[in-house]
Symmetry: C2
Subunit: 271 residues, 2 copies
């Protein structure tokens, strides 16, 4: 196979298999090409991926070694994306009764969702993660986007058990904002003992929902490897019950009367 | 920029922007390359994409013309994927009380979900679609996967209104299987008048839920451009209320006593 054709095929394969280890023989056999040629292709792809700001190829040496595409988003791209997202969210037409913000249109755009996923995947690229967890409904697309880049499965926590889930483990927790007692359930066969879990959600105020997920994970003896939220909001009356999280956006102020929203970059950019 | 580098960058760009029209000048400027070189690159990429069975580049002529990557999955790849999925689902350990099948693990795998999305995107590649719609919860990842390949947004129907959605339109419908009256809501600002909508869901028995979505769409004067379900199940006691759908899998028989499941290819493969 010609180099030009190999480059197209390899670029496609690597983009489709992030965080997956590919042995050199896999490519040499697939493309019927010499090891030296495939190695040179890898170098070209690695340089271009870094130039495009989408990640890089990591070489794993040894007998079981190979190459691994680790997706990441450059700081420059990330800042531009988040600033643009903040700008879109500051539109006063988004203000809903109670000072909530309408975000469904942005979360409904697969391209935006993918970019959010890429940012969290960048942040947690070096963290040991076995599964991404979220609670229905709005966090679901974000969880899949992150999981897709990290090459791990998604598990969805529900508010109510469903017959199609089999036996479930359920907990009650106190919602931070409303102080109401709520329920969360997770199918018994969805998580293995000791799994490293990344919690992803769209929004966090006091953190009651995320705290609920943490309690639920305890029931499975799972380990919380990280917490990522798209937007966090300040809540004067409540003390935040979750501390160790990463946010892309911080909603500082939603003024219904003055129709004004202030959104800044989240703590993602503070490290 | 060298051809080898351009091929990596263009392959990445096209894969990231399915169904998006790219003008030739966009690439010549981006890569500081001659029109003839970029044209040759396009030919190489087009041939390889077809050889990989992942789609092809369509040329749109005229002043506003350019090239468009239309993703599709080859029949061979599709059949192999669906047969494997059927095989995985036929595992008796999946049988739940009531003859339901546990599918959450498969729907929790981003790679599987992506492939399902690709199949529906192949089927509806030539259909005018403005938005993909699904009902919470299990259809959500599938809807995003399809929408991502079709380059359109996703809208999620809920069972209950939420304060973060703003004002909503709601309908009552009769669930086909249980004959219970249920509710569905959709935020008022989520759909524009006359939109062409593709309905996607994970499972269909009598079709009550999908029929509910159709009624809801009527309230928005939206047009149902297509219906895609991952798995359909036969239901002897009910008459199916939805006819014009496409399914990847057909669950023919779930025998709790004999611990036996029969699954065949859906009507996707009958055309």
């Amino acid at each position: 196979m010609k180099r030009s054709e190999r480059l197209v095929a390899m670029t496609h394969y690597l983009l489709e298999h992030p965080h997956g280890l590919v042995s050199l023989p896999f490519f040499t056999e697939k493309f019927d090409s010499a090891k030296s040629s495939v190695s040179e292709d890898m170098t070209i792809i690695n340089v271009m991926f870094q130039q495009l700001g989408i990640g890089e190829l990591h070489t794993v040496s040894g007998a079981a070694g190979g190459v691994k595409f680790v997706p990441s988003q450059s700081v420059e791209n990330s800042e531009r994306f988040v600033d643009q997202l903040a700008h879109q969210l500051e539109d006063p037409a988004r203000i809903l009764p109670g000072g909530y913000l309408f975000m469904s249109d942005l979360l409904g755009d697969p391209h935006t969702v993918k970019q959010i996923g890429q940012l969290f995947a960048t942040y947690f690229a070096e963290t040991e993660i076995d599964v991404v967890i979220t609670v229905a409904t709005k966090g679901i697309p974000l969880a899949y986007a992150v999981a897709s880049f990290l090459n791990v499965p998604v598990v969805i926590v529900r508010r109510d058990p469903k017959v199609t889930e089999g036996s479930t483990v359920s907990i009650n927790y106190v919602s931070g904002s409303s102080r109401k007692i709520q329920t969360m359930v997770l199918p018994k066969r969805s998580l293995s003992e000791g799994a490293n879990v990344l919690i992803v959600d769209d929004f966090m105020k006091a953190g009651g929902t995320i705290n609920g997920m943490k309690s639920l994970l305890k029931e499975f003896n799972a380990h919380v490897a990280g917490i990522g939220v798209l937007a966090e909001a300040e809540d004067e009356e409540e003390e935040r019950v979750v501390q160790d999280y990463v946010s892309l956006l911080q909603i500082q102020h939603v003024d219904e009367r003055e129709q004004r929203i202030d959104i800044v970059r989240g703590n993602y950019f503070q490290s």
